[in-house]
Every structure is written in structure tokens, then in C-alpha cells.
Symmetry: D2
Subunit: 326 residues, 4 copies
């Protein structure tokens, strides 16, 4: 389903080339100052204009359709709408019979029996994350005491931000794409958010993070490195009455619950599946493998646009936990 | 909360040293042959008796309290109960003031205001996973066409199963513990289970997997390696009308939906937090850091017992998806 | 919260005088033929133009914003939007300090701390039921084999439809309003929908029905009359292998589950709270009881517009049950 | 499903003649004093020993299996178990082919394909309400400031409590049963619990109330009488700054939200379906209508045992709303 959260609950909708897309945010407390302008900075970070991001240009102007009155949230469902304008549906007509490798084209056709909106990935499009970013803006206001920040750790093999653009230029030149790693840190979290087992912070964060298209892995704190560690190395000694630990291999979570140290996790973003180089794939019309060349406007490194989305889903989870904790 | 699933829904309860623990399974279809004996093999795999696993001995005999009549499930909630018998509560008395590093002792005390059952980790104990394994047995019967199998890939730095026991002996000798990696593969999955966004297979599997204590990371298919790959390398070419792909970097999932290829993921298990070597930690009574030596019975490598639990939560997710897919 | 349903799940949003209102429908299967025209008949029934219904005129034109492609549902969330156009916000300014008796003005102000959109009842407005009716149109298509029909049984003391309009004229003349009873019948229901206890048909129908503003009572089958009956009178004898019963005091439900006989229930609709006669009420500004005369455009008998809304929520519940039943 | 509530969430399980039945209560705050003795008064009210209630005698001793430590709730799931002891399964063998009129026997057989536990109604039994009463005891402690009380208003045609027993004696003498009306009042409720639309107090209370077997109708405040009233009669004038109203036709709820006046509702309880008089019913074995005489131990007036169950579900809803309101 397209709904997430227990008290602060969001529902996303829309397709890449449909009329509009957006989000309904339920459970938002009344009295939060909110205007269209508040959405613009994070939306701009998602849009990006850097080389390597899609040349498709959308205004991405949010319309607040409900839930705000005289500049404040009312406590009723808050709906934010984005109109699709710059859609070139013609680009995608030829993909019906040629499912793109690494895309959901083929499974969508199988699952929805041919009724899916196949234009630009339809409801599978990364464009739907606009609604996540919008909800994230509201969520960040709800947990304004928490400092949430995600950034790119690596692009391909490169871990030096000064050279990320070089890597992107290189894959652009070859008609290819490249993956990356994004790290998110949330500081100044209260102690005690989350629950053991199914509502552990890791369960909820990972649930939300894997809702972002192209994410294939997540690790908290020391992550996969813990598998090679001894307990005497991995255990974080508690240093004082505030619960501060000398190390933070746990990534800020014990037993599923925030321990007051920074929440830290990293996610792996796969290279954009759409590449302009020819690729072999099954042709459902001809019944054989044929070469497919994807036209259209695409990102060479989708990871560049992911940090603000990761921040958004993190804020969404934390906003919900903050309300449950009360 | 302690409930998971939409149609096939499980609720776990219990504490390490309480009267009993178990699981209520709602949404289980009628007519599945089920007896106490069906639970024993997986429970035995979880219990383990190998060196490096806890010397605490529990019969772990499941009692089917409701939902089964004349050898078959009835369609009503199915409850499986495990009595705690071999509890040595005295072992844990001294830990109230000495929160164990790497454990939930401190956050539990903060969150539950001192009312938590602190004996043996209480409701945070790995012992509660008995309920997960029991539910997994039922879930496996519901998706009996799917072949689910998890196994240990590495213990510490060692990737050779023939030498896993050596690594464990070494950490036992030094009063330490060690982590590991577990891989799970589900074969013969139908195409089309899961949804884009919040009910993606990755979202649901990771949600359930992080409910298992000690898991700190998960990756699907090529996982973190995708971050270093080009799109032309990572994309899985579709080879025939069945959706079979030549590679499986996606781990069997596109757009959150099973594509008919094997679902593959790996998880990192941290080293057991309880070690017999002295560790520094905050003493809440004295108000200073003091050395803590943990007595009691513990696993040296909890990863050894994790595979059957990972299988269980995987089966639980797939059983739910199978019912939603209908 | 503003969401209802487990698999077929609807989320309503909007305010009486805001930008727009509508509904997001998740879990709708792909392949259902759907166009704007399909919504018009039920929307027209809700709007009504009869004497005694509000003179406020709204086009109530639905805009399908997502989830439909080439004339069919896609399986992605279906969003239907209604713009508010004919809003006279000025009418409501003076009601901030004068909570209207029988309305939610006072509780809304207490609950939402003054941030609620007070214009025309805001999110409490009966206008929000447009989203319910829209979702009902889709739901009716999903359970097209079931024949759902609601109608007015009585207006005030009058049970003769030929004279309903006379009763309405009379209350209009006196600046008053009047209540009514609506009966809903769903025929050709399959056997076996619903569950014992919390997902009983009665639980789900009543949950949804009481979401309609102004409903204060519901009874199934013989309803309150069962309290005065003997078991030998009330029991419905089963007459043949189809489960047909000779009487239908149960209203088509046994143990929370449809028994194949018509589902029958009646609801009581209170008289419109807004009346043009002066009423005493607490004035929060002056701190004393004062006379309030409500201006604006109102229904004299809201019950006249309720049948199509009752049908809608019934269809919504049945559509969800039909999907769970599979 | 067998789960109810958003934060304070209960899951019931068990069958009339199975091993045990009970309830898991999740979301219960830590620190509430709770012992087995606390359950006994309400369990005794449910059991009743009056003439007209079933002669089946069960100890109904609750066993607290989890969630309580040193006399207080821990914040972990609280499980209460009741063993079935005095079961005479033989009584029900002959009912497999003779579905009892007014019971769920026939629909259960259709829905669960013959796998249902048919003994004593199995999971449809009123005996499962033991779990509701137990959860109600905990819920009452959570909303201890609210005064919840349900009582019988009428038995059959009789509204004089002094003569209720006479009515029961009469139906017992004739091998019949009789219905009744139960009224519940909750006083000293805070203002602001509940939400407009789907989480209205009426929606949640009615959802929970119809989970009680044998309830066929509910009305809030003036209830069905509002349908015959004018707005000028029905509107409750607000009398002072506390929100107190001069009348309470609304039953304490406006716009789905508590208004600080007493919450009042009435429910209709049908006559017990099991009567000892012969009844015609379809015989699935012979394929024709035959007379059925039900043996066994039954209530003549189930309404006598309903008040404490209605109180319990009311407390369960209010406890959940109290936590959401925070």
C-alpha cells in the first residue's frame, strides 16, 4: 500500500506523466507555521540541476490543497499537490514491448495485467518521491530539535566529493550511469524513541528507506563491519549519565530504541537503470532477446538526488515516533 | 508495537524470565495440517547445542493453545506458548545499576521508568524470537512452493564453514564474542509479490529482519556493491518470457516486486554484547564509570542461531504477501 | 485518522471552504473501467436540489488526478479531487466566538487550539462526504454483483414518502430543521464475508456509517426490536442448502459473517444543527449565554442527502471485505 | 482480524472448548499496579450466577503470562490466559449437520470449509469475551478518571429491574430465551477525544460494541429519537465555559469528539439463540428441514451478562483515545 506511519501518517499518489502527484499527511498537529515557500529549499535539493541529473525540467511548485489555514496547519489532513507539466509521453510508447533491464516495466506489466500507466515508469517513477520530500518538510518542523542531515559519501569508486562530478562526466560520456553511497545522521535525538522488535528504529527507518526507488542496502552504525568485530571491540561503553557512549558502533540505537547518541546509517544507491547504451532484453512482442536503446531524459547518477529524500523519510519516521513516544 | 503483517499477522509476547512467551498468529487460513511435532526441527535449529551457543537449556516445547482442531488450523487465531523453566533470575540482579554495554538495559530503564523486567533482558531478550520461529513454521507451510534457506556466510573474518568452530573456540577462550554474516535465499517465488514504495519486498523484509535482535545491516542482491557499479554492469538482462535474468544483482526484486528470480539478501549480525571479559560502563548508582564483569550463560556467536530466525521472518513476510496478492 | 479499510483503503481530505477536497483510494484493482462520467449520478443524488437542501451551489465536478490511464484503473492510488468554488467565507466569521449548538465548533476550538479552519465547519463539514461518495462509486464497481440501495424511511414523524416534502416545507417555514431514518439493503451478497469479533460486518459497517456526520444510531435486521423478542421468535430458521432463512431478523449477518440473505440496516439522521431560528448558546467572548441567529445556506433535512452516502460507505466496506475474502 | 486499537491494542484468541483463551494487550504503559485479584470483580460480573445464565461453571481464573513484573505493568505486551476446564464436547457433536438457527454454525462451516472448531461455537463463542473483560480491567485503570458504568434497562418488554428475574423465569419455564437493552454511561470525560470521520467516538465505540456477540443495534444520546425531532429540540445549548450543555441529546459527542458531557449509548442484545424448544432448521446431511432440539447449558437472557462487557470495550476505546490524544 501507499501509506506509512501510525500517528503521523502519509499517503502518496500519482504517476510520472499523469495529471498530478502528491501526498496526504494525516496526524499532523495543529499550529505549525507552514507556507509554500517552506517546501522550496528541499524540493530544489531534490530537483538538482547538476550535470548528471535528468534534463527533464519541472517547476515542482507545491500546491497546498488542504490542512493549512491562515498560515498554520489545522490538524486536518494536509494535502500537497504537484502538477505534471513537462511530460513527453511519446518517449515511452516503444517500451511497452521492451521491458527495460533494471526497471519495473516487466513486473508491473505482469502484476497489473497491462493496465499500469507505463509512461515514464508510471507510479514506479522516482518522481513520486516529490511527495516524500514534501512530507519530510512538514516532519522536520515537527522534530525541529533534531538535526537531520544526509550527504553523499561516494560516487562509484570515488570517495572524494571534489571529484564526484568527474565520475559523473565520465559515465555521461559513455552513455552509462553510476551508483553511490549516502550517509544520514540525526543528532540531538531524545532517548527512548522506538520499540523492541517490530517498531525498532532500524525496522522503521529501513522500511521507509527501501520505499525510495534504487536503494539496495542499508547499514546502521558500524553496519556490515560488526560481522567481523569482537564484542569487546563493538560494544559502546557508556560514559556518563546522559547515556553518551565513547564509540557509536550501534549507530545510536540499542534494542531498537534511540540511546541519545547520533543515529547514523548509510544506504547504497544503484546506478540509474536507464542508460543510453544499447542493452539486450527480452522483447515480448517478437519473443526473443533484442537490443534496446533507451531514449529520453535520465539521471546518470540518481544518488546525487537521494540525500534530501533520505532525510525526508528519516524525518517522517522520527516525527511518527515522537508522537507515539508522547 | 509487537504486531507485524497485514493479513497474516503475528503478535509476539513474553519476557526472558517471565512465566511464558509466545506468539498469536492471526489470518492463518483454515485447513493447514499442524501439530506440535512440526515446530520441533526449526526450534532445534534455533536452540543449537554447538559450542559457542548459550549453555542455558530450555525444553522449548511449544504448546498450541488455540487455533488448531483435530490436527488442522481452524482459521481462528493460532496461539503457541512456550513456558520458561530454567530461569536463574539471581544472575541479573546486579545489572540494574550497571547497564551492560551493547545491551538495551540503559535505554529500557530510561524508557520504561524502571518498571521493565530486567531479568535476562526481559522483553528485549533474543529468547522472544522463539515466537518468530514458531510463526515461521506456520508461514513456511503457507508458502510451501517457495524454497527458503538461510545460512552463515562468515564468522568474524572467516568465510570457510570448516573453520567457523575454530573462530568460536578462540573467542570463547578469551571471554569474548564474534559477529557474522547470514545469507538468505528464497527460490521459486511467483512474479508480482510486493508493491512499489512502502510495501516493497525490501521494505517488508528489512522491517521484519531488523526486528531480530543483533542485526545491524541488510543488503539485497549485489547490495552495497551496486554503489560502485555502472548501470551497464548492474542491470540484469531479461533472458526469456519467464522473466529469468542473466544476472541477479537486483536480488529478485524490481520496483519492490518479485521478478521470479531468487530473492537474495544478506544480514550482518553483531557479536553478542554479553562477554565475560571486564568492560567499563557507567554505574548509575555510584555515578561513575566502573568495570563490569557479566556472569551468566551467553552465546559467543549469536549469528550461529540466526539463520532459522531469518528464514522465519522471511516466510512470515512472504506468507502475508501471498495472501495480499490473491 | 482519516483513513479507512485494510486492502481497499480510502483517505479523505479537505475543508468546506479550502482549496479543494477529495479522496485517495488505495488498493483498487487494475482494469476497472472508470471515467468522470461514472461519478456524476451518485454525486447528483448527494447534491440534491430539492427544497430543504442547501441553496449553496457547487459544480462538484470530480477531477481524476491519478490512478486512471486510458479509461481504466491502473492499480496505483486513485485520487479524485473537487475544487471548492462557491465559498462565502464571510458568512462564518461571526461564529468564532459563538459556537453553534449541535455543531463541532466548540470541540474543534478546544481540540485544535484555535487553528482549525472554522469556515463552514472546516474539515467537519458534510461537504467532505463528497470523497466518500466518489470512493463509493469505485467500490460499487468492485462489488458489482451486489445490489446496494438506501432510501429514506421517514422524515420526522412522517413515514409516507408522498408527504416528506410537506414536512420539509413546514420546518423551512418555521426556520427549523428535521431528522429522518434511512434504510440500506444489500442483496445478492456471497456467504462468508466478515469475521467474528472486530471485523464483523456490523462492526465495519457501523464504523463507516458513524463517520457520516449527523448519524446517531444504527440497527441491523430487527435491531432494537430484538430486545423485546423471544429466541423462538427472533431465530431465523434455515430453509434450504443456500442458507436462505424464512425470516431475516439477523439482517443477513450471523456471527459477524454474511449468511447470504439481504444485509439490512437502518440509521437515524439528526435534524440539521444549523437553523435560522435564534438559539441560546455560550458566547466565549462575552462570557455569557447569548442568542445566536445562524445565517448562511443550510439543509433543512440533511437526511434527504444521506442515502447515497450510506450506500457509498456500505460499498466501501463490502469492497474491502470482498478483497480480504479472496 | 482479532486485533483492535491503534496504540492501546488488544488481540483476542481462543475457542470455547480449546485448551485456553485470552488476550494480548499491547501498548499498555509501564507502571500500572496490576495483579490477578484486580480482574476478579469484573470477571465475576460477567460470569454471573443468576438464574437464566448458563449452568456451565468455569473457574475463569486469569493467568498473567507476560507484561507484569513485581506487581506492575512493564510496558511490554501483557498476556492474560484462561484455561478451559469444564468442557463437555460431546454435547456438540450432533450439531455439525444441524446448524442452529441464530448461530454462526452454518456460516462458519461455509467460511472455514469444515475446519472450524464447532464445539460450543468454537471461536464464535461468547466465552471469548473473557479476553475483552480482562483487557477492560486494564483499560479502566488507564482512564481511571473516567467513570464508566453499564446496566440493563430492559429485559424483553419489562423495564422494571425488580421484575427482570420474573421475565427470565418465565422464558426458562417455556424453554425459550429473551433479549434486552443495556445502557452505558461514561462520565468525567475530557473534552477533545476522538476525531471527525473514521475515528469518531461513535465509530470506534460501535466498532468495538458490535464485536460483542448478540448485539444488533446501538444508539448514542437521543439515538433513533433524533429522527423525529426538530433541530430546535435536538440541539443542546451550551451553558457555560466548560462546554456543559443544558440537554444531552448528542450523548456527549459532537463531530465525533467528546464534548465533556456524559457519553451515553444504548445497545440491543438479542435473545440467546440456543433454546431448548424444538426448532426447524436445515439438516445438511439429510438435505431437508428437520426439527432440532438443542441440549447443553445455555443462558436464557444473555443480556444479563453483557453490561460488564460493554463497559470493557468502552474502556478499551477510551484508553486508546486517551493515548492518541496525548
Amino acid at each position: 500500500m501507499n501509506t506509512f506511519g501510525r500517528i503521523f501518517r502519509i499517503s502518496i499518489f500519482g504517476e510520472s506523466h499523469g495529471e498530478a502527484l502528491g501526498v496526504v499527511i494525516d496526524g499532523c498537529p495543529p499550529g505549525i507555521a507552514l507556507s509554500v515557500d517552506d517546501f522550496l529549499p528541499d524540493l530544489a535539493r531534490r530537483k538538482s540541476g547538476a550535470r548528471g541529473t535528468t534534463p527533464r525540467r519541472e517547476a515542482d511548485l507545491p500546491e497546498i490543497v488542504s490542512g493549512v489555514f491562515e498560515g498554520h496547519t489545522t490538524g486536518a489532513p494536509l494535502t500537497v499537490l504537484f502538477r505534471n507539466e513537462n511530460t513527453r509521453s511519446g518517449d515511452y510508447r516503444n517500451l511497452v514491448d521492451h521491458p527495460r533491464p533494471g526497471h519495473a516495466d516487466w513486473v508491473a506489466d505482469q502484476k497489473f495485467g497491462g493496465f499500469q500507466d507505463y509512461r515514464g515508469g508510471g507510479h514506479f517513477s522516482g518522481r513520486i518521491t516529490l511527495g516524500l520530500v514534501a512530507a519530510g518538510v512538514v516532519a522536520k518542523k515537527m522534530v525541529s530539535g533534531v538535526n537531520i542531515r544526509a550527504e553523499i559519501l561516494s560516487v562509484g569508486d570515488c570517495t572524494d566529493p571534489a571529484h564526484f562530478q568527474d565520475v559523473v562526466e565520465e559515465v555521461l560520456r559513455t552513455g552509462d550511469s553510476v551508483g553511490g553511497v549516502v550517509e544520514c545522521v540525526a543528532e540531538k535525538l531524545p532517548v527512548g524513541w522506538g520499540e523492541p522488535f517490530f517498531d525498532s528504529v532500524e525496522s522503521l527507518i529501513s522500511h521507509a528507506v527501501f520505499a525510495i526507488p534504487a536503494i539496495k542496502a542499508i547499514e546502521f552504525g558500524a553496519g556490515f563491519a560488526v560481522a567481523r568485530m569482537k564484542g569487546s571491540q563493538n560494544n559502546d561503553p557508556i560514559a556518563d549519565a546522559s547515556g553518551r557512549t565513547l564509540t557509536n558502533h550501534a549507530g545510536g540505537v540499542n534494542g531498537g530504541i534511540t540511546n541519545g547518541n547520533p543515529l547514523i546509517f548509510r544506504v547504497a544507491v544503484k546506478p540509474t537503470a536507464s542508460i543510453s547504451r544499447p542493452q539486450p532484453t527480452w522483447n515480448t512482442a517478437s519473443g526473443q532477446v533484442e537490443e534496446l536503446t533507451i531514449k529520453g531524459r535520465h539521471d546518470a547518477c540518481i544518488a546525487l538526488r537521494v540525500p534530501v529524500i533520505v532525510e525526508a523519510v528519516t524525518a517522517i519516521v522520527l516525527a511518527d515516533l515522537s508522537m507515539i513516544h508522547k
